[in-house]
Assembly symmetry: C2
Homo-oligomer: 227 residues x 2
Amino acid sequence: MLKAVGVMSRDVKSAVAGAPNQQQANVGRAQDFWRTVQRIPAGAEVAADPESRRRQIVVVSGWIAETRILPDGRRQIFDFLLAGDVASVCDSHMGGRSFIALTNVEIADAAALTSCEGSERASASIAAAIHRREQRLFDHIVRIGRLTAKERVLNLLFELYDRLEAIGLVKDNAFKLPITQEVFADALGLSVVHISRTLKELRGEGMLTIGRGLIALHQRRKFAAVA
Amino acid sequence: MLKAVGVMSRDVKSAVAGAPNQQQANVGRAQDFWRTVQRIPAGAEVAADPESRRRQIVVVSGWIAETRILPDGRRQIFDFLLAGDVASVCDSHMGGRSFIALTNVEIADAAALTSCEGSERASASIAAAIHRREQRLFDHIVRIGRLTAKERVLNLLFELYDRLEAIGLVKDNAFKLPITQEVFADALGLSVVHISRTLKELRGEGMLTIGRGLIALHQRRKFAAVA
DNA sequence: CGAGACTTTGACCGTAGTCAATTTATGTGG
DNA sequence: CCACATAAATTGACTACGGTCAAAGTCTCG
C-alpha cells in the first residue's frame, strides 16, 4: 500500500488526504476509498464488475491501454491510463472498447473518492482528469491523422514524459516505459517494424536513449515545433 | 424558422416540443429556446460569446467542423456536427480546437433547452448527444489509425449516412454533402488528390454515385465488414 | 461570359508496410 | 549460474499506398 501511494498522482493523493487542516476527520472516509483498491494482473482486462454496473475507476498504479480490436485483428489503442487518471469502464464493451492492463495495475472506485470528505475537491479532480483525457484524445487524433512517423513517436513520448513527470515518475529525464513496441505501434497507427526503425533513427539523432527498460528524452527544444 | 424545424433532429424536436400530452404548457418555454437561435455564415467560426462564457450549443441546421490547425498549416478535423448534435464551445480555443461552419448554420443554446419543461427529457437528450459524439471520436481514431484510404472514405460516408438518415435528411439512399474534398481529406488524414482518386475508384466499383451535390451510397452489405 | 474555386489526371517520389530471417532480451527451471 | 525457451527487437529486401507537383479540366456564381 505504501508503495502504491508513492506512485500516485497528486490529484489522487490530495483528494484522498484532504486539505491539511481537515486531515483527521477524513481518515475513516479515506480508508473506505483504499478498501476499494483492487489489483489487476498484466494482460488482463479491466472489466466493470457484474455488481456495480457503470463504474468510474481511478488508476492508482500501473499502465492501462484503452483499445479496440477490429474483427480482422487490427488493433487501435486510444489512450494510456496512468496513475491518477479516471475512466468510465461502464460502457466499455458497449462502444467496442476495452481496457487492458499493460502492467500489474491497481485501480480504485472514483465514487468512493467522492464520498470522502472534501468531496467538492474530489469531484473537481475527477472532472479535471476526465477533461485532460478528452484533450489527449484530440491530441491523439492529430497525431495519427497529421503527423509523420517520427513526429508521432516523439509527440507521444513527450506526452507520456509530461504526464509521468507530473506524478513524479521521471528521474534524470528518464522514465520507465513498460510497453512493447507492438503496443506503441497500435497506438500510433504504425507497424512494429517501422516503430523499431523510427526509434533507431531518433536514437541516432540523440533525441533519446533507451536502456534497462528506461527511456530518456533529450532536446525538448527541438520538440517545441511538434507540440 | 419553419424551414429550420424541418431540418432538425428528432432529439431537438421532441425535447423542445415536449411530450404530446403536455405540449400546451411548453409553448412559452419553447419560445425562450427559439429566441436563442443564431445564424452563422458558412466559413465563420462558431465562438463562445464574450458574455456567456462556457456555452453548450445545439446545432439546429447546417454542418460544423471541429478542427485544429497546426502551426505549419496542417489541419485535422475531429468531427462533423449536424442538426441535433451538441458541443461545448466553451473551451474550444483552449484546447487548440475551433468550430468552423461549413455551411450556413443555425445554433441554439443547450441551456435554454434544459430550462424548458420536460427538462429531464432535454438533459437526457443532451447527454445522449454528447455520448454519441464521444463514440464518434473513437470511431474516428480507428478510422485514421487503422483503416486504408478506401475504408476510411467509405466508413466516414456511412457514418454520415446513418446520422443524416436518423434526422430525415436521406432520400433514395442519397444525401447532400456540402463539403469540399479538401475538408474530407483533412478529416481523414489524407491528401485531396488521394481523396479524389479514392472516390473515383469507389464510383467505379459502384459503391457510390455523385451528382448535383448529392451522394448516393449502394451496397451497404459489403460495408458490414468495415463497420 | 469570365474569374476563382474545386476536381481530376499524370508522372514521379517517398514513407511506411510486409515478409522473413537474425539477433537480442527476458525469463524459467535444472 | 547456466541452458534453454519464448518473447521482443532489429535488419534487409522488396512492395505498395499514399503524397507531391504541376497541368488540365469542371463547376459556380456574379
